[in-house]
């Protein structure tokens, strides 16, 4: 069974329809890449999944549990919205690290705040915080940042900042990790280190949705690819299939622009 099912998602901003009946599903341990020209609604789709935007129609369920249903009242589905958000992790195009915290603090902040709400927190505060910090350090090591844990975001390169952001998103162990053009804000020579980290996550069967303009990367790393245009899914399928042998005319035109360079 699919870990994520989003059905008939619609999103309007005023009179502009940005998402028109978008449905997708994702298998556990799979990576899904979303491609498409700018303005096609990719970011809005990820923001809907993370409840940063509220869809006007549709349903979202994870592991069989319905997290969102547009036919329910806001009050009904907003219950436990914080908990629902934790099913998803989000890596933003512009990192959005907290500037006043070190790399390690960025990674551990949310976990510590969640721990404070647990009943046994007061009694075992020291042990709990210690465990969280060890976990954060381990994640930063995985990102190749063991020597940068005490650095503030402004002391890090873009590629390092984005890797901290990935560690931060992983810290709460989301079921599905979303990336919104994780390398688009980086200098070309820094994209490689971030793509390598994401590739490593895919190798470890992390369930992911990656919005990207790196076609070769999408073809290699993703299991499936969705091509979006003007708020609809035009084509989807096996990653190599979509990149190498697209069926739809619009997909062909879009990909042609990339292969021409």
């Amino acid at each position: 069974m699919a870990i994520l099912e989003a059905n008939h998602i619609e999103k309007h901003f005023g009179s502009t329809k940005v998402l028109k009946d978008v449905s997708l599903s994702l298998e556990e341990g799979n990576a899904l890449a979303i491609i498409g020209s700018s303005g096609s609604g990719k970011t809005t789709l990820l923001r809907c999944l993370n409840f940063l935007e509220i869809p006007n129609a549709g349903t979202i369920s994870v592991k069989g549990e319905t997290l969102f249903d547009a036919s329910l009242s806001a009050k009904e589905w907003e219950k436990d919205i914080r908990k629902k958000r934790l099913h998803f992790g989000m890596v933003f195009q512009s990192f959005n690290l907290f500037p006043q915290y070190t790399a390690l603090e960025n990674v551990t902040l949310a976990e510590k705040l969640l721990a404070e709400e647990k009943p046994d927190f007061k009694k075992n505060k020291k042990e709990i915080f210690h465990a969280i910090e060890e976990h954060g350090k381990e994640l930063l090591r995985q990102m190749g940042l063991e020597s940068r844990m005490g650095h503030y975001p402004h002391q890090l390169s873009g590629g390092q900042q984005q890797r901290v952001a990935i560690a931060r998103a992983l810290a709460l162990q989301p079921d599905i990790l979303c990336f919104d053009e994780p390398t688009s804000a980086l200098d070309p020579e820094l994209t490689g280190e971030v793509l390598k980290v994401i590739r490593g996550l895919a190798d470890r069967k992390t369930t992911m949705i990656i919005v990207t303009h790196e076609m070769a990367f999408a073809r290699d790393v993703a299991d499936r690819i969705i091509f979006m245009d003007d708020g609809v899914i035009v084509e989807q399928g096996d990653a190599r299939q979509v990149i190498d042998n697209p069926v739809e005319e619009r997909t062909k035109q879009f990909l042609a622009r990339y292969t021409q360079g």
Partner: protein
């Protein structure tokens, strides 16, 4: 003579200091309320703040002070007692409204200057609204607000001299009184030393805050 003058000026300095402190104590929270009003979803509230800020920034503070002191009496409302305390109270109220308007513009800029992505990053990490405010955005706002606020607060020190207009016995009035009574000009010049010392201390204080907040960007 210098000792007599110094004593008189120190007396005036106390009033100057009182006007300064009370104005700050009122204008800071009132300014924050106005900033929230200016960003409110309620249209009337936004318009109210806009009009207030327009009036306050569009007229001289001296005029506002005179209206505040004499206005109520002309309407038959004698809210200010005729003594020194009444003059200081009228000054503090007029100054507080004036400075709250300037502060509100600074606060609004500080609040809106924190990128939306900061709040969103907190939201997707499951933080509550108050956790996001206190742990993520507040310090970034403070950092943005300190430099323009220090400018305004230093201006306030010098604006206290306007209280002389309604005969409040502050530092400049204390210096000026020697010109009238003894024909001496130098006591007025001498007040400059006190203003410089006052502003000097504030400058050091704000420099310290800015340095404290310089560890991040």
């Amino acid at each position: 003579m210098i000792w007599t003058v110094t004593q008189a000026l120190l007396n005036g300095l106390i009033t100057t200091f009182e006007i300064f402190i009370f104005t700050l104590a009122l204008a800071l929270p009132f300014g924050l309320i106005l900033a929230f009003g200016a960003m409110s979803r309620v249209k009337i509230l936004r318009y109210f703040v806009q009009v207030l800020v327009w009036i306050i920034r569009g007229t001289p503070l001296m005029l506002q002070l005179i209206v505040m002191f004499y206005g109520p009496g002309m309407l038959g409302l004698n809210i200010w007692s005729g003594d020194e305390a009444g003059r200081i109270a009228a000054t503090v109220v007029a100054f507080s409204i004036n400075y709250a308007c300037y502060f509100s513009v600074i606060f609004k800029g500080g609040i809106e200057g924190v990128p939306a992505g900061q709040r969103e990053a907190g939201e997707v990490l499951g933080m509550t609204k108050s956790q996001i405010f206190f742990r993520v955005t507040l310090l970034q706002m403070v950092k943005r607000v300190v430099p323009p606020m220090s400018n305004e607060i230093i201006t306030l020190v010098k604006d206290t001299a306007l209280a002389r207009t309604i005969a409040a016995y502050e530092l400049t009035f204390a210096g000026y009184s020697f010109m009238k009574s003894a024909g001496l000009v130098w006591p007025l010049f001498y007040t400059g030393v006190f203003y410089l010392a006052f502003v000097g201390v504030l400058t050091l204080l704000f420099g310290y805050f800015e340095k404290k907040l310089s560890y991040f960007r």
